[in-house]
Symmetry: C2
Subunit: 342 residues, 2 copies
Amino acid sequence: MGNEITQQDIASSLGVSKSTVSLVLQGSPLVADATRKKVQESAEQLGYVYNRAAASLRSRQTGNLGLIVSSVSNPFFAELTNGVEQFLGVEEKTVLLGQHSEDLAAQKRLINSMLESRVDGLIIVPAYGTSADDCSRLLTLNIPTVLLTRRISKINLHYIGSDNVSGAYEAVRHLIAHKRKSIVLIGGQVGTPAHNERLEGLTRATQEEKIPASRVKIMGNGATRQSGFNLTQELIASGIDNIGILAYNDIVALGILGALKESKYKVGRDLSLISIDNIESSKFETPALSTVDVNAPELGRKAAESLLQIIAGKEKVKKTVFLNNKLIIRESCGCNEDKKVS
Amino acid sequence: MGNEITQQDIASSLGVSKSTVSLVLQGSPLVADATRKKVQESAEQLGYVYNRAAASLRSRQTGNLGLIVSSVSNPFFAELTNGVEQFLGVEEKTVLLGQHSEDLAAQKRLINSMLESRVDGLIIVPAYGTSADDCSRLLTLNIPTVLLTRRISKINLHYIGSDNVSGAYEAVRHLIAHKRKSIVLIGGQVGTPAHNERLEGLTRATQEEKIPASRVKIMGNGATRQSGFNLTQELIASGIDNIGILAYNDIVALGILGALKESKYKVGRDLSLISIDNIESSKFETPALSTVDVNAPELGRKAAESLLQIIAGKEKVKKTVFLNNKLIIRESCGCNEDKKVS
DNA sequence: GATTTTTTTTATATCGTTCCAAAAATGAGG
DNA sequence: CCTCATTTTTGGAACGATATAAAAAAAATC
């Protein structure tokens, strides 16, 4: 377990001061080239490993960034995580990962743990039901924070997400273009900003197209595959007639697909289904999912990029950013069954 | 950005020494109950946040553990990550996440970054082609390390993985029980330990059942959905007749399924398919995948548990642990088509 | 060669905690 | 009340780096 090599050891081995060594290892331009080279060689040769904890104690920057998501087993969050990690890896930052599984207590523990680790900043997909209060710590401590894909009302924090309203709007317009007579929104946590926004887009489209409210149905709650399955079974039991389904997200859509597979209804022909997210596997389903691409990896990258900007002090004012999304037409809407619809 | 609250501040506010405060916050039993309570209340009231970097500088324990996987976008690694994180979260450890995407240089950067963060230990799913040399740093620095699901030859490190040999063996025996006349192994990185082991299990089964070597085919390389798709197209072009396919893993199997969907062959009827892993979505595919359950979350948990043991000094001798797996019969093998096979 | 300017190096204090050994307080036994 | 054992508290060094300001060395100017 031989004692660790420190900058002092390098300094001693060369007869220079540890200040000089520190400067070299920080990549400072102040030190003479010849000296720099000597130091680097000695560091290499001695097997020196930079000690970030020690450095951060004095410099007040850890290079650690926290990422808190629901669960990486959910492909959407996995893609988000992937995007974040990809960007930050290149920037030589270290990612502390936490998963709250929609448990507020777990989320609280995670945030606290990351504060103890003195993360320079934090990217959070807040758990359902997170209140402004739950984030008060972040505000009083003034930790650079970006909320990702889920907003919290009455709180002044940066937010990056997809434009849910326009996404849902485009999707529902397309459903209606397929001559579907009624529209059903399946899944999602009713009352959350994300659900409200999708509902708003849906409503705007149905109103524009004069679909009476009686022909619009909202079926919550839950954003899992299982809940998509269950809700659809309910729906089938209550009777389906030429409907257009907007799935809260792809995961829910997979459950919907599963339930319909066991029924007499054929997706695309008897009904149209469009969801939101465009996770990687959605194009491989049968039928391939028509879905609104929110580009999760890009969302992750943008959040990470944004966070670094905030940390660098270049974004004083809290911003809310909606990334554009794009309706991807595949099979589940019915575009391969009847004539294509623009 | 008001200055931070330190243990000294708590101490001053109560007129005790910072040593006492430190003891309380470490949960030491040495301090009197009344004092403990005072300190805890004051800490709470002042909004104190423990500084782990400072603590670890002196105590030489960071509570940070590194996890390096290929990519969390791959559901198998996501489930592994989930298991690890779940276990360590409860143990109050912080997980530093890294993804190498099978890039050796990236992996090297990640390992180095984690060493700089002074992780107490490391769980690694090594990138393809990782040599003993690439891990020499870990050995000389004597960092507690667990290799997860992928072995590296000629290196003395703890390893936890699934029993590939028996998994492949059981799967292939089942394929043969379905009266499939030839056996094809699709996907995987040929030459890696994991591939060799699965091949060994396959070979043992085919030899036992007197399938001549001429009726056994190995199709590498690649462990992605796309490679499964491509290899299967090749296979179809070269002609299929009553074959049993062992897919290297579920992801590859998804590609295989995709390619066959476009062909005249029906999985289960014209051929049998069994894969390895049992990722969550495999039961939802059409047909549902028959697959060898390796229980990825459990592998992750066990790796984490094991790592903590090693860190605690309770596992001096390097161990290689194979977790049991279990063949899960669903549809893709054909058990729903013809009579069930035991 | 003396003076000024620029480049390079360094000494010292400091970050917030834990460790250690010793001091102080408390309790028990006579 | 004194002694001894036990419990509780404490001061100060230490961990390994960075920041700061000043010193030393080198280069430029006259």
